[in-house]
Symmetry: D3
Subunit: 318 residues, 6 copies
């Protein structure tokens, strides 16, 4: 069974894929006919597809985020590959395929990512900081097993958020060793908390964000995390204007660095400066790595990347 990023124009193929998007449309003909406008995906990428001559039964059978078995052919439509589906049926239990095999995932198992994050919390020596971090993580622990870090910007896949946190913890450990004036407790806490409210800001399924929550739009994940720190402080009987609360709120609030990027205050502690640049470095390098991974080896240039000044990345032949 061919993965999607290996399908070429003219290929005829049979295989299992995920119905990432599915829309019922009508043709221009008289009378117009129903057809499905589809996005198929697997863990290697995605491709658009059409299924013509939709029956009444089809409309009830097929829904987004289902696994289906398809027989189709790849065509060129407006300079892009597109699948014309000849046959389609829903996957059955005895097909032995599982939804999680068909979405893009972080390269480390979610359970291991969460374990690493918990270990990092355990290493925080200050009890108040540890309690507050634990309280906030507790709010989204289950969602950390599968939520992406963003809709499209970076780490936009299954467990992408936890993966982002774990990689940042690695950089944080290195930087704390290189520059001992940094406080490891604060930096760890900042790394774990900075995006911790994203699972409540976004609505996602299988690592794919479909929308933002009302709270996400009206308050935003930065202040939501800040709210949780207040809630944690009250729960643990720490006055909300104590230095430690200021410090943790400041880390979360300032991590986007500038007002126009969403931070109401700018980094003004050593760890807040470090957090911002660790976040930036991990996000940008992951964009590069993901772009190269999802571009065919034969292509010298990736497609344009919004987060990298709209530039493509070149595979230097050195």
């Amino acid at each position: 069974m061919k993965p999607i990023n290996k399908l070429n124009v003219q290929d005829e193929f049979i295989g299992f894929y995920l119905l990432k998007e599915l829309n019922l449309r009508q043709t221009n003909s008289t009378p117009p006919k129903d057809y499905f406008d589809i996005v198929l995906s697997d863990s290697s990428g995605q491709i658009s597809a059409k299924y013509w001559d939709v029956t009444i039964q089809d409309k009830e059978t097929f829904l987004p985020m289902q696994l289906v078995k398809i027989q189709g052919v790849v065509q060129n439509y407006r300079n892009q590959s597109q699948v014309k589906i000849n046959k389609i049926r829903r996957a059955r239990e005895d097909d032995g395929v599982s939804l999680t095999d068909f979405v893009r995932c972080a390269p480390i198992r979610p359970v291991d990512l969460l374990h690493t994050i918990k270990l990092a919390i355990h290493e925080i020596t200050d009890q108040d900081i540890r309690n507050i971090v634990q309280f906030c993580v507790g709010k989204v622990e289950e969602k950390l097993m599968h939520y992406p870090a963003a809709k499209t910007y970076h780490h936009a896949y299954f467990a992408g958020l936890a993966y982002h946190i774990v990689r940042m913890l690695e950089i944080g450990d290195f930087i704390c060793k290189q520059r001992p004036f940094l406080n490891p407790d604060l930096l760890k806490a900042g790394i774990i908390l900075h995006d911790i409210a994203k699972p409540e800001e976004m609505i996602a399924q299988m690592g794919i964000v479909t929308d933002y929550s009302n709270q996400g739009k009206l308050v935003g994940h930065i202040v939501m995390a800040s709210n949780w720190i207040v809630e944690a402080a009250i729960t643990h009987n720490i006055p909300i204007d104590f230095e430690i609360i200021l410090g943790l709120q400041h880390l979360v609030l300032s991590h986007h660095n500038l007002g126009e990027w969403g931070s109401p205050v700018q980094p003004q502690t050593a760890e807040a400066v470090a957090l911002h640049y660790i976040d930036l470095m991990d996000a940008k390098l992951q964009m590069v790595e993901d772009a190269l991974d999802t571009t065919a080896d034969t292509e010298p240039w990736t497609s344009m990347i919004r987060g990298l000044e709209n530039k493509s990345i070149y595979r230097l032949k050195v």
Copy 2:
């Protein structure tokens, strides 16, 4: 006794003034001599002054924010008026002068301003909203009697913040009548809460801001007010993700409109849009009014106003 904005070059005068700023300096002479570099103020304005030949006793006698009696002469120094102080002594009880007479004040008595604010709270029909507003105002009730609304930007005087709120409430009442689709409870709450944490963000005495608090710098008044709403919600057993809490936090968080002006989210409810433009209108027109009030009637142009695109205001002779 001449008010400061009536002092002209060459005037010799005796009177009581406030030592708004006082710094000990040394002349360039050999050996250098001590002198005081001073800013005198009263309710009509301020002027710089020098007191030469400072004695050891003087250094212990005079402190900033004291009232003093002065005999002096106004000179021209680098195109600006400057007082040369010939005699100076601290005001005594039997002089019958009071500190509050010497600072710039809102044109309505603080106690009346606070009364109006409390009346407005009382008029909020929704009990949860009323409780939360009451909780937050309770945190700074005493400071509302004298805090300014800003360091220099607008309403920068004694009880300026309460005055700003009261005038905005007036505009809010009008707009709610003109446009009945606006919710008066929410708009009242937004007007009262939008700057409610400023007294904890800034450090002020007699309506004069001397610095920002650590919390003010690291968290900022917008998120501080948002924190208080969370605290109020927990105190009143309202879940922090309830619609009403989102709505109140959104009003506070979005009232600066843009990220580069400090708001982590942009206005997305009708009342949040209204709040922003009411705030803007009151602040800008007050800048104009204050600039005209503190400019001599004979001057056709005020000095430049930072908040008005660095423009001066012209007294049109119509």
Copy 3:
């Protein structure tokens, strides 16, 4: 007869609508066939529509801005509702329908709006100011009965411009009472004149702007109004460099506040500052009100609004 904003997918319906836009197109078939690409509108909103199998006679019968009777069905096309027209004929006199019932209108009758504006002119106490305002209004009096205030930005409907002026006059009255240092004559004049040349800047029919005039593009409504003030001054024998002319020109020229928003000078009189913020407040709140009015009650969010930082407005459930 169902208003457009109540039409749902699958609805079959008969009714009268306005042909807001009408374009002849060809299908991709061999040989291609003619069809009409249409935008239908009524006072509640608009919807796109297709009429297939256009005859030679149809091409001569139907023109934009006509009223037609339609039998059709609502379909889903690319996630948007679209009408498939089965039958269409022009409205006849005996159908008893009138064009003005099918366009979006200001909520107050044009004749009443104009009356209010004239009353406000009448209240201007300074005769020169009153004459100049009268002269300029006289140039577009007939067009004020139906012109919108803008193509799409705000008040983009029948008599929208006059409605905008009237609402601003209400705010102006309030603000002059709240802040007596403002000159009511100047503020009234500024409100009436600030957009007075828009009817000559834009080409509109039934409240719908189809284009900008050459003069609108090359000179712009701000300087056109400024020209008219010069013309009025000459007509009334007032030297064009008299204070009153400077003041009126300044109000018009500066009302967009910044150069990048089209104002060659920035507000530098008290009334010019007031005018800008009154204009801003009325325009922004009207955008909110219109967006909520044209969004189905069941929708929690309006669509995105360009003039409000591209944000949608949320109906808070309080």
Copy 4:
């Protein structure tokens, strides 16, 4: 007699100079003593100066913009040359010096500049255009003999405005020959009219701008020139919405190219585009030429130039 740009530290000298600025100040000494803070200038440049021990009589004798005879010495004050004046007296008639020899002037005689401009007007073939240009020039003809083109930005000297116009006419002639699709009448008119209201926008004496007029601040030279075109049209019975009036107003209004540079509309005719770039080229190259002229030949770098991205110009040794 040494010109100012040849004076070096330690030089003792006697000569005639202009009192470009003169301020009475007081020293820090007890009691303070009066002294003059002075800017001396001649046609080669300017230098700051001090005259200590001012007498009561001196205060009445010396005024800005007078010619004086000075005996002084050049000292180093805060890394800048400064003259200490030992003796000073007003120039007498029999000294044979004339004010105009002491200000920086355009390199061509004003009378010749004006002659060239009038010749250019004469060459305009379209009578309406010629009449309008003539009308506007007539308003400031006398001031064109000495006004600068700007306060400091470029051509900031005696007759600098007329010189700027004449040089632009030369470039205009060349460009019209190189690109015959340009209309020479319009381009000539645009060049002559684009800054024609500057003498009424600025208040200047001997080519030195001391302030802006009220009209200059409230309306600005761009719209003032636009007003004059309207006035000229009415005088010559040309309707103010005639194509020719649009064209001339458009040239003037758009010549700063962008709203943030003061133009309410952007260039939209061929001649308006040409006018903007001719203006830009002449202004920028004149800044370079003036900076090099007023920098000692031995200095490889000029001082920083605001209008050239705050860069200095290097004398390349080629």
Copy 5:
């Protein structure tokens, strides 16, 4: 044979055209059918076209950049003219048509443009400058005969780059005469070298840019030209930090004026300032001229021009 810019809707025609773009597409029909999506061009303009019912043989016969004979009809598709091709065949030798007649060209023959450039090099009096310019031009001499100056921005046609250089040389000659302080050798060298690496930055055929080279994307034409100057210096035994090399590199590096426009340094020699404004003037006026030339005489407005603030140009009827 009708030129493309004279084709109107409903015209039936036969003629020779260039296949500027050719893409194989499939219709929505069941089964889908192949068709060609085409852009036809000649020296007067371009138009989109469709050829339905493509045969297997057609797919092998037709390729982009071929000349073809066509019988077709002009239709209106989405408000734009579009050709429906009824018959198509490749041009044959005995048709007597030549590729160069079908592309837009500079109005002067390439061989004459190159001759003019060589003459200008010959006139450079400094031998080192002349040698370096000669070395760089030698690298792209053949490509100068046909390369455009840009993909779409300006002079985007056959030999557009050489034409741009020649016109700038004319302006340069004029400016050197008007302002003798400019060094003609340096200015000539700057004009010839400023875009000299564009033929290696872009990939073009017949004056049409299809892509950028890897070197163009990773290094850019500005630094590529700078590299060539280094190479030339080494070849001619001139140390790379000699004044003359600095001067020539500076001209090339600074000619875009600002960092955001691609220049790593800003103009800091007189000739570098002149070069930037000559480049700007020639590019902008050429945009205007080309827009007017390719717009039907009956149209008062050209289409929008990206390089001119997205404005259209108006044909003033004077």
Copy 6:
């Protein structure tokens, strides 16, 4: 002997310091007297100082960048500490003090920094890359022993540039291990070359930049390094358009990321993206560390830091 950052107002002291700046000035007295305006520095910081009553001999004795022995007292001048020097003499050989002890230095010995850089070059496996890096380092090897990385922005001290490179190499090693898709040869080369031309761009003595070179201003260190890569390529017979040269030039040219920050191209290879963010992280964290190091332990806030959005850093008490 007290280090400068331990000097408090009123302290009388004797010690050796560096004359970092020395200017001869005159007092306002009549007649004016000569005095020295001085900046004293040692490795702990700097302080301004005055030496009154300068003799003719003093003027010849003292020069900037000399070591001197001073007896003085610390006074408060305009709210800043300032030394009044009572006695001063040049340091003698038998004083046993050495210039290098009095300048701020990188915390690692220059010889060790250079050794680490050479080791890194040695580890580059690709011979061409290694040769080119070696060639460029060879040009400034001696200056790498003492040059700062910038005038004030970051690492502005003795051997700051080499220290910056060494710390970036550490981060680079870590990142290459964390993300094996990065090419260590290219990243090492990029880190070593990115600022390699700074010692020729700036003029510095003892780690203190006094000016920029002509080449630094006209070409800039980014293109200078790019020039050296071309020179190295020619020396080693590598064509200048070879992939490896593109790659190395691209690393250097793009490392400031944006045009407005001085990069003519934006990062478009994985290693170029990594280089930019490594550079950013090291520079920003060093600014924080240096600001905290040079602020008294008792101060909760550092002074404002230009490179960190003009914010101060707070010592969180956790």
